[in-house]
Symmetry: C2
Subunit: 217 residues, 2 copies
């Protein structure tokens, strides 16, 4: 049952080991242009307010679904993830909450246009929403997110779905003035729960089945 | 740009939020039978010996590829992962190293039959190897595994690929006497690096895009 001792030279290129995996084309950060637009209004609320709002929304609409985008660019030959940085300490993926009956793709496209495109100039074709990479569940209003549903959970309160969104070779991002868009290398995000939280810090793993085609100018 | 205020009742079943995701059928642990067979011989070596062996193998064959299986069963209405427990403290996914020029699927099938099927009685059709869930890279002999390749790495030394392997409704597992096969709930594995290491503890995230159909007798 042991190895049969054959001695063949194999192609030691990593591309060979990854040959059955999917490839993602990523383009240099310098291919993209960044402008700004009017700030977005955010609800300024305490954690207790937020829980109250979630409870009242749950009573009216049931399970709340959030959709978020994984957008990648290349910098220093390494894939970087685009994140919003809020008040220096909070990092968020672009995305947001679905309206009742809205599809994942429609909702994510709407949210991306609102936070990353020029007002009025954007349409759905701006964003190529790809596969769902993962889902996180909030079993109760006050709890953390988990990547599974426990058997003793009756009705989950919130589901967050991450989608790979493929960027074109170049485009302009127009970002509200009160949001800061940054590019963070995957190697800094990996297992860095403390800074990025469980969802974002797990993204390098969710992407690990892909090989990256870095397309230089 | 705010919500349009429509108030529709939505289906708050989690299945609805997960409707665009893939489903995995999982069966109760009690559907499976467990027997034992002769112990497998393992190389009993120090870490230094192991690094030496990896270096000599790399010189002869190049990048080493390991393939490992994610096998799921249901217990207490929660998905459980099948793992080998070695000397009470080490946990491993079923799988192993590819022979030179061997395909991922051939190699994984061979390893699963060797460690989980009756000798001689098994064939490739025993195992339904599904999609690649993730890949981990060892950039150098002495380093940890990472879910990406850094730009400054010339030639990675090892790639570990995780595959979802779908179990049939029932089957017999025949396990070498010196291995212990256990079923561990996803909720115990999630983020438990200390016990299970980075690869296994990330599996709940890699599986989070799937919904589980628990099929009871």
């Amino acid at each position: 049952m042991g190895d049969d001792g054959r001695l063949h030279a194999i192609d030691d290129d990593e591309a060979s080991a990854a040959d059955q995996s999917l490839a993602i084309d990523i383009y240099p950060l310098s291919n993209y242009y960044f402008g700004s637009k009017q700030p977005l209004l955010f609800k300024d609320e305490t954690l207790a307010d937020r829980v109250l709002r979630m409870k009242s929304n749950y009573a009216a609409y049931g399970l709340r679904t959030c959709v978020e985008a994984v957008l990648l660019v290349e910098l220093f030959k390494h894939p970087h993830l685009l994140l919003f940085q809020i008040r220096n300490s909070i990092f968020k993926l672009p995305g947001g909450r679905l309206r009742p009956n809205e599809s994942d793709i429609d909702g994510l496209t709407r949210k991306l246009s609102r936070k990353l495109s020029a007002d009025g100039a954007s349409d759905a074709s701006d964003w190529e929403v790809g596969e769902c990479l993962g889902m996180w569940w909030r079993p109760d209003f006050e709890t953390l997110l988990f990547p599974y549903l426990s058997s003793n959970v009756k009705g989950a309160k919130e589901c967050t779905k991450l989608f790979l969104v493929k960027l074109p070779e170049g485009r302009k991002f127009v970002v509200p003035k009160n949001l800061k868009l940054i590019a963070v290398p995957l190697c800094q995000i990996h297992e860095n729960h403390k800074t990025y939280g469980p969802v974002i810090s797990g993204i390098p793993q969710l992407l690990s089945k892909f090989s990256f085609n870095i397309i230089e100018n």
